[in-house]
């Protein structure tokens, strides 16, 4: 006989530890444990067998991986937490005595400083690992850069975050790393390709005061930001070094106070790096790698243009985008801050002007540039007036689009997410398939709805608003029909006779009947197939059946969503056509 295994010494019982046990083992308070977990990136686990992991109890608890907690035992930061506790006691004592000078001395000399660089290195052994985890860090830092300070959020943190965001923007511009951007209702999404193909994806809120709900725990967010600022700092250091730039870039305080934005930082070349010079000009002329090799053709999209931003446009995202895509000369209204290429709206070198105000003049006909300049419109001839969306759409399309649709005051074309892959789900740019195919004729609205309803009989998500009253009746009728098919044929003659007696046209009736029959036959075939599937399901094991049903359900749900969108579009297009006719 095999040796009897003792219970609770191996496997799930040993590998997992509850949160309370972990806190006891580390001898820290719960908030300190939380901070530690956030810094170290330790997260709870889901044991395969909860009962075994919880010593036979089935109560729901949080489990941690025992080895994670064991590594925490000799973590320098943990020691710092203890030091801080001791320091807090000393400070409290000094303050209690009213010994303020002592308190101040303690504060300046003995306050333990937590360094997180070893954690950054530990969590991200390679630079690529760090870049992979940069999404949340950047989004968080961009949010904190725009938050109001409070007792939990010192101004230094906000300033630090703001500095990091601009440094990041400078790097992205310099490296030409930005790929796509998207204006969402939540904020502006950006995607950049950094450090050899790593895609970094972040969200920047619109420039409004943020609504801070009361149930948000800022201590947790602050702990995250503490780590993220360190991480982003190290990442930026490395990225600047790779670009051959000095980090940190020189900060121009005056420019910042004048709302210089990106211009408040002066990027400098690192002269300490040896630049490679060929020993002799006659030696083989191998093409040498240039610092910014990632520059693709798309980053020079706006290279030959001069932009002017009107005062109602958001300067920061526009400046960032335009600079990232090669635009060197960006002017803006003086209201938007200092550092503009030109603040004079009538500058003749301007090729494009971004306008986002309702037109005070009747919208010009197509061919904006060719429209005759009139003094009344206030337009300067020889430049293209566009709405801000034009820039985003150009970037996502990877080429300069015709600006006609984006003229001020014009109804903008829909702004689509560049991350939805074509062929996945519903594609709003693709033309709808033939209306015949979908059975729904857009001319008769109610009829089409009914038809769709039948199509989506299995779809639970289908709209309950559509007139469904006729559907069940019809179904029942069909059922009857199917059962009494043979009776029917024998009774058909009888019916014909009665119809004749009643004075109706039996031929027309017959025709109708035939049509109906055709329809019912089609549905019958479908139903038979469904029955077949149902019957096959009988022979499946319960587990497989559950899995199958889940898959079918989710597929049907997805398809239902796509169908719903198509149906809506069809109705809208139909309506549009009607209005056009009228």
């Amino acid at each position: 006989m095999a040796k009897i295994k003792k219970k609770g010494v191996s496997g799930n019982a040993k590998n997992f530890i509850t949160r309370t046990q972990a806190v006891r083992k580390l001898q820290v308070s719960l908030p300190d444990f939380r901070r530690l977990c956030i810094f170290k990136g330790i997260y709870p686990r889901e044991p395969r067998n909860k009962k075994k992991a919880n010593k036979g109890s089935t109560q729901s608890t949080t489990f941690y991986y025992t080895k994670d907690i064991q590594y925490l035992l000799h973590e320098p930061v943990l020691q710092k937490f203890r030091d801080h506790k001791a320091f807090a006691k000393k400070l409290q004592k000094a303050l209690g005595r009213g010994d303020y000078s002592d308190a101040k001395r303690l504060e300046t000399t003995q306050k333990p400083v937590i360094r997180l660089d070893h954690i950054v290195k530990e969590r991200y052994p390679t630079f690529t690992d760090a870049l992979r985890d940069l999404d949340d860090a950047l989004s968080m830092i961009h949010l904190f850069a725009s938050l109001p300070t409070n007792e939990n959020l010192p101004p230094a943190t906000v300033a630090n975050c703001a500095r990091l965001t601009r440094e990041w923007a400078h790097y992205v511009i310099r490296a030409g790393a930005l790929r796509k951007s998207f204006l969402s209702i939540k904020g502006i999404y950006y995607q950049a390709e950094v450090g050899g193909g790593q895609e970094v994806f972040w969200l920047v809120p619109y420039g409004f005061a943020q609504n801070v709900p009361v149930d948000v725990d800022f201590r947790i967010m602050h702990t995250f930001v503490e780590f993220y600022t360190t991480l982003v700092g190290f990442v930026l250091f490395r990225l600047y070094a790779l670009e051959g730039l000095v980090y940190p870039p020189r900060f121009d305080k005056d420019a910042d106070e004048n709302a210089g934005g990106l211009g408040a930082f002066r990027i400098e070349k690192d002269l300490t790096i040896d630049t490679f010079t060929p020993a002799a000009s006659s030696s083989d002329p191998l093409p040498q790698p240039t610092p910014s090799q990632t520059t693709s053709t798309s980053t020079t999209l706006f290279a030959n243009t001069t932009f002017y931003l009107s005062r109602e446009t958001p300067r920061e995202p526009l400046e960032f985008l335009l600079r990232s895509f090669g635009c060197k000369r960006i002017g803006w209204d003086g209201v938007l801050g200092a550092g503009a290429y030109t603040e004079d709206a009538s500058d003749t070198s301007i090729t494009h002007q971004v306008v986002d105000r309702p037109p005070t003049f009747p919208p010009a006909a197509e061919g904006d540039a060719s429209a005759p300049p009139t003094a009344a419109t206030g337009r300067v001839p020889g430049r293209i007036y566009i709405q801000p969306q034009y820039i985003w759409d150009c970037i996502n399309a990877g080429r300069i689009l015709p600006p006609g649709e984006y003229a001020p005051g014009a109804l903008l074309p829909p702004h689509l997410s560049p991350w939805v892959k074509p062929g996945e789900g519903y594609d709003p740019t693709a033309a709808l398939p033939d209306v015949e195919h979908g059975k729904a004729s857009s001319d008769s609205d109610s009829g089409s709805d009914n038809g769709m309803q039948e199509d989506l009989a299995s779809d639970s998500d289908s709209e309950p608003t559509a007139p469904t009253t006729t559907a069940p009746e019809e179904e029942e009728e069909e059922e009857d029909e199917e059962e009494d098919e043979e009776d029917e044929e024998s009774a058909a003659y009888q019916r014909e006779l009665t119809a004749e007696a009643a004075g109706t046209n039996p031929a027309a009736d017959k025709k109708k009947k035939k049509e109906k029959k055709k329809k019912s036959k089609k549905t019958r075939q479908q139903r038979e197939e469904e029955d077949q599937k149902e019957m096959k399901k009988i022979m499946m094991s319960r587990r497989k059946r559950k899995l199958y049903e889940k898959m079918v359900y989710s597929n049907a749900k997805k398809e239902g969503e796509v169908e719903g969108l198509k149906r809506k579009r069809r109705r809208l297009e139909g309506k549009g056509k009607k209005e056009g006719e009228a």
Binding site: K67, T126, D135, I185, L412, T465, E483, E534, R542
Partner: protein, 639 residues
Amino acid sequence: MYPEIDPVYDSDDTDVEETNTIGNIPLEFYDEYPHIGYDINGKKIMRPAKGAALDALLDSIEVPKGWTGMTDRNTGGDLMLTQEELEMVRKIQMGEVPVDGYDPYAPTVEYFTSKTEVMPLSAAPEPKRRFIPSKHEAKRVMKIVKAIREGRIVPNKPKQEEPQLYDIWADDAPPRPDHIMNIPAPKLPPPTHDESYNPPAEYLPTEAEKKAWEELDPEDRDKDYLPRKCSALRLVPGYDGFVKERFERCLDLYLAPRVRRNKLNIDPESLLPKLPSPQELKPFPTTTATIYRGHEGKVRTLSIDPSGVWLATGGDDGTVRIWEILTGREVWKIKLGEDESVNSVKWRPGREAGILAAAAGDDVYLIIPPIFDHETEAAGKEVLSAGWGYAEIVKKDPLKKEPPAKWSKPSDKLADAGVAAIVTVRITVKHIAWHRRGDYFATVSPEGQNRAVAIHQLSKHQSQSPFRKSKGIIQRVEFHPFRPVLFVATQRYIRTYDLTKQELIKTLQPGSRWISSFDVHSGGDNLIVGSYDKRLLWHDLDLSTKPYRTLRYHQKAIRSVKYHQGGLPLFCSASDDGTVQVFHGKVFGDLMENALIVPLKVLRGHVVKQSLGVLDVEWHPKECWLFSAGADGTARLWN
């Protein structure tokens, strides 16, 4: 307390009085002996002679001085205390010091005086060094001052606030190998078109969708925003939930348990089992061929006569009706009960005599319907009347226990209608099962406890109940198709009994809560069981007492299950959801091969009334025709 020892010759205690050595045990143990223990030499210590009863009485009236009421363990006599001892006990009780002459408040004697003397012990003057600054200290201070001046020591130097940045990844460490316990946080999905500030119009919610979204609990919403359209970028408002969403992401990162889950990205159709197509397994019933209408109320039961021409049905209206199968014409009917429903009808096996057993209320009616030719009818009458004589003889035996049922002749009216005999069981009969030879039939009355099953013999007009004790609520009984074996189904189990040896063979455990019906395969080795908890269970009797297959597909309780007994590999189940499911169920002769079960067809047609659907099914004895009795008052033929 012993008196002070005076060190004289007498003080020698070698000849001290004898002591009892019994140890710390109660003296009562020696009550019935003349001695009270043993001395150090092992000699018995005899109990001292007690005074007369009068002495004892006198002692109790006039307590002698020092009397304690206790017995001296050493002598066995009364234990008396001296005056001194009594005084000491009193002092201890009062909390006083027991020893005489002890003063607890005697004045302390100090070893050293606490007063300062006027004259010091030493007259040496204070040394000078106590009044001048220390040179050594000055030296040390000067060292520190020098260090401060030189900048080697910076007083109150603030610690470095800014984390020093450096190239942390300069060493180009190799990437850490992927570990199974290391689960990176999933990235947030990129935004879709509907999140755009200017989405295509079809993404905008309708009023109803908007309302539905707002009414949903925020946790139940599948998206945390509603698509909306802004005609220009300047009109886009701030997003309310930005901080909240970031916060929730933070919580997810450090609080949410992470699990590795592999996603199945396969076509769900590939999960369906590969079964032979029903088209290959024809024939089986697919459509309604005939509807037998006529019953008022539910049709409870039906039966096909052995020749396969007549269908007998019984229903809640108390009538038994006989129909011509092919035409659906009602040929004959009889009303058996006034307010009782006909619970079971069964034709007697064998073609020579057309006898129909119908159970209504407590009675089982043995009917010879006048639809056959004269020969058959006469044969039937003969079979049924043969027993009357025998019954007469048995009745005379007074010692015999009262039989579970009484056989009686019907009234004239019923006799004219075709009833040949009535068996009164006294408990409502729910089910009838015929033995294959047609001489015996069994009835089941579930409420009858130990008399729930009764076996009746036609040839002797005799009834007996095979069980002495109740076996639980019995649902059905069935005879084995060719062996003398009886299957008895209680709510949970099916027991098989050998009728010749009169013993239990096997107990099957289908595992369902409440068996509704079962049927035995014509081969005798397989059994299907239908249960009220929607399950159909296939038992292979050779394999195990547990079911070989458990199928759950009906939405409501299964009422009846039946094998085709005429050689076709078919079986079916009828349920309260109004459907009949037909299966191909092939049993192989080879013991190693399991039965093949293929679902063939769902027969829909019966209307569900009062949550009852199809109540009974029956196969035609030869053809692949199926008959079903529904709660909607019709019986149907399917082919």
